[in-house]
């Protein structure tokens, strides 16, 4: 990763999380301390976030939330993730919202393994930093 691109990525993340001074220099594969997700060119992400996207894909969440998280019968996650805390996200995805028609996903091995990455992916989408559609590894 060129130093110019590193600077751009740094600036983008810095704007988002004012308190985080993320100075990425050469370490591009591991998220820097405090970074929720790392993204390059909008669709190349760190391994944890990639697994989060794969979990989104595997559990067919788009059926209710839309393939761009924009909302269908379920709410827009682009909106919800602006205010939903990580803990509340965890509770919601494990228990579902039965009264609203969302099933619980605590029985899913992939969700249990990757829910944090899924949170990171959806936050990246909501932040407008991660593009909709197919994601790829960073290298």
């Amino acid at each position: 990763m060129s130093s110019a691109k590193v600077r751009m990525a740094t600036v983008a993340i810095g704007l988002l999380a004012l308190s985080i001074a993320a100075v990425c220099t050469s370490a591009s594969d591991a998220p820097a301390g405090g970074d929720l997700y790392q993204v390059k060119e909008g669709n190349k992400v760190d391994p944890k976030t990639l697994n989060g996207w794969k979990t989104w894909r595997a559990l067919a969440c788009e059926r209710c939330h839309g393939d761009q998280q924009q909302g269908l019968v379920g709410p827009s996650l682009l909106e919800s993730l602006k205010t939903l805390s990580k803990d509340d996200f965890h509770t919601t995805i494990m228990n579902g919202r039965p009264d609203k028609g969302m099933p619980p996903f605590n029985g899913s091995a992939m969700v249990n393994q990757n829910w944090e990455g899924l949170y990171a992916y959806l936050k990246g989408r909501s932040d407008g930093k991660i593009k909709p559609g197919h994601l790829y590894p960073m290298d």
């Binding site: 794969k54 894909r57 595997a58 559990l59 067919a60 059926r63 393939d67 099933p103 029985g107 899913s108 091995a109 992939m110 197919h134």
Partner: protein, 608 residues
């Protein structure tokens, strides 16, 4: 050039008297004025002896009457006609109307109350392939897996049976079929990890007679390891013990697909039911190593016991969703100077198979679209396709996009049925001319949720005529295309051949077309209000012949329109491929009946 009319006489002579029988069905079906079975006859030939409408006068055909079905989305199948009554069915919610042919007034209506939660677990539109008749009853297979028998005169429910559970993704789209004293039906849900089976019910009472599972232990499969035969190294050999279990990893056969949502045919002399099974569950082949038997398989089963006489798997360890459920057309083959009781099957995988329907021997396996590329050929000794690794998603593995696989997952032909010409021994086949990109990925099974694991895009076959379909004539003895008529879109309707030397089919733009069996030349066409995915049928009433078809786009090809989907990879890839349909048609739901103009009288002109 054998005539096939002896079917019914053989049955009448040899069938034993039971509580109920389909004797009245067989009597009605033997009269060309009726259309008493979805497939025309037990053999699925879709051929009518009627010839009042013929090649010389079909150009003058016009609308005789029309009727709205009152429902939108894909209209598959066709009505039945018995005597002076037509029986009409609709897509979900699967209404049934009995209509007086005299004046098109309703005799009775059956409007089932079904839970709409069934709709989201129907992968490929809310279609229903039609009704069956037998022993004074009209049979309807509802989407919610309720099989119901209605009194044909009053519409009253006589019995009903439940053959599945929509909560675990099980639904129905198939037409039930009456063979003698038995009702045969299947199950849908290959995209929901459903375990497929064929089910037989007693026509009189609705009691379950037998269930033949597609995957699992031998006792569930209704196979005899020593007696059920399969094509092995150039001859028939027993399938052996655990023929299914051996080809799955662990418990995966429990979500192993092999669903049975297509067509069923029957040979009353051999007493065998013929049908094919669907995809082996997930579309990500890496998750299910092994041949995945008996998905993608042609079965021949005894009507009374369900025991399999033989089986033939067409696409072992499927990597493309080439369901094997398309119709088995029974006919007499003429190969190597011998007359052989045979069946021909136009598989999704692009190969047309001719088999000896008595023994299960493989006779012919050839591409019925030359652009098919995932396999170079079928090895005639093993019966297995020779896969080209360039088009093998299993070889490149998950998360790798494989491009330009032909045909696309919806196959060179999907459920839209072909028709057999009794005069020249050819078949007229409605085909798709579509290719795909296919990227498999890891998925997890959750009961009642989709269990797919692949992203697809579909598009017209590249470097070809630019269209997405062909209507072809096929020689089942030699395995050759005789003529091929390109179409802008996939031909998704069922074909009909008549003794008047006319072949009918419908297009996705909504045209009902009449063409010449000699060369496919168009003799007549009419644009109906919506795309056609139904099966063309014909009957005679009051001394006059009529040809009819449902008009109402949907089905897998039309799923974008039917379900309001817009992303190109939605609808299992069909939304992008068929987006141009919106330029030509929109949703509809009607029945169109055509006939010759009043003034033409009965046709006595010599056929040209």
């Amino acid at each position: 050039m054998k005539r096939q009319q002896c079917w019914v006489l053989l049955v009448a002579a040899s069938s034993t008297v039971t509580m109920a029988s389909a004797a009245d069905l067989e009597t009605y079906a033997s009269k060309p004025s009726n259309w008493a079975m979805q497939a025309g006859d037990y053999a699925n030939q879709r051929y009518s002896e009627l010839k009042q409408i013929n090649a010389s006068n079909v150009g003058r055909m016009q609308v005789a009457w029309t009727m709205s079905t009152g429902v939108l989305r894909g209209h598959e199948g066709s009505p039945l006609v018995i005597g002076d009554t037509m029986y009409i069915h609709t897509p979900f919610p699967n209404n049934v109307f009995a209509v007086n042919l005299k004046d098109q007034s309703y005799k009775w209506k059956y409007e089932p109350k079904q839970d709409t939660s069934v709709v989201p677990v129907m992968c490929c539109d809310t279609v229903n392939r039609g009704l069956a008749y037998g022993d004074g009853k009209i049979l309807l297979q509802q989407a919610d897996t309720t099989l119901v028998a209605l009194d044909a005169n009053t519409g009253k429910v006589l019995w009903s049976a439940k053959n599945g559970d929509p909560k675990i993704g099980e639904t129905n789209t198939n037409a039930p079929h009456v063979f003698k004293d038995t009702v045969i039906t299947g199950i849908s849900g290959g995209e929901f990890g459903v375990r497929g089976r064929l089910i037989a019910y007693d026509l009189a009472t609705g009691k379950r007679k037998w269930t033949a599972w597609s995957t699992g232990p031998d006792k569930d499969l209704l196979v005899d390891p020593a007696k059920t035969m399969t094509w092995t190294n150039g001859k028939m050999a027993p399938v052996g013990a655990d023929s299914s279990l051996k080809t799955w990893k662990g418990d995966q056969w429990k979500i192993g697909g092999g669903t049975t949502w297509g067509w069923f045919s029957y040979d009353p002399k051999l007493n065998l039911v013929y049908y094919g099974t669907g995809n082996p569950g997930t579309w990500n082949p890496s998750q299910r190593p092994g041949d995945n038997k008996w998905s993608m398989t042609i079965f021949a089963r005894d009507l009374n016991t369900g025991m399999a006489k033989w089986a033939f798997q067409m696409t072992p360890h499927d990597e493309w969703d080439f369901d094997g459920v398309n119709e088995m057309v029974l006919f007499t083959a003429n190969i190597g100077g011998k007359q052989i009781p045979a069946l021909v099957h136009f598989d999704r995988n692009g190969f047309a198979y001719t088999l000896n329907r008595d023994t299960g021997e493989l006779l012919v396996a050839q591409k019925y679209d030359p652009t098919v590329n995932w396999a170079t050929k079928v090895d005639m000794k093993t019966g297995r396709p020779v896969v080209d690794k360039k088009y093998s998603p299993a070889t490149s593995g998950p998360d790798v996009n494989v491009k330009d696989i032909c045909p696309a997952a919806l196959g060179t032909k999907d459920q839209q049925p072909a028709s057999y010409d009794r005069k020249n021994g050819l078949l007229y086949v409605p085909t798709n001319h579509v290719c795909m990109t296919y990227e498999p990925f890891q998925v997890e099974y959750t009961a009642g949720q989709p269990y797919v694991g692949a992203t697809l895009t579909m598009y017209p076959t590249p470097n070809s005529h630019g269209g997405m379909g062909n209507f072809i004539a096929w020689d089942p003895n030699q395995g050759k295309i005789v003529w091929s008529k390109p179409e802008r879109f996939s031909v998704w309707s069922g074909a009909l051949t008549t003794a008047g030397d006319v072949v009918f089919y419908g297009t996705l733009e909504g045209y009902l077309k009449a063409v010449s069996p000699k060369d496919g030349k168009e003799l007549w066409k009419f644009k109906t209000p919506s795309g056609i995915i139904g099966n063309v049928f014909t009957y005679e009433y009051g001394g006059k012949q009529y040809v009819g078809v449902y008009s109402g786009i949907g089905g897998w090809a039309g799923i974008g329109m039917a379900a309001g989907l817009t992303e190109s990879t939605e609808g299992l890839g069909a939304v992008g491929g068929y987006k141009d349909l919106a330029k030509y048609t929109t949703l509809g739901g009607s029945l169109f009946i055509f006939g010759l103009p009043e003034s033409s009288g009965s046709a006595t002109t010599a056929a040209k």
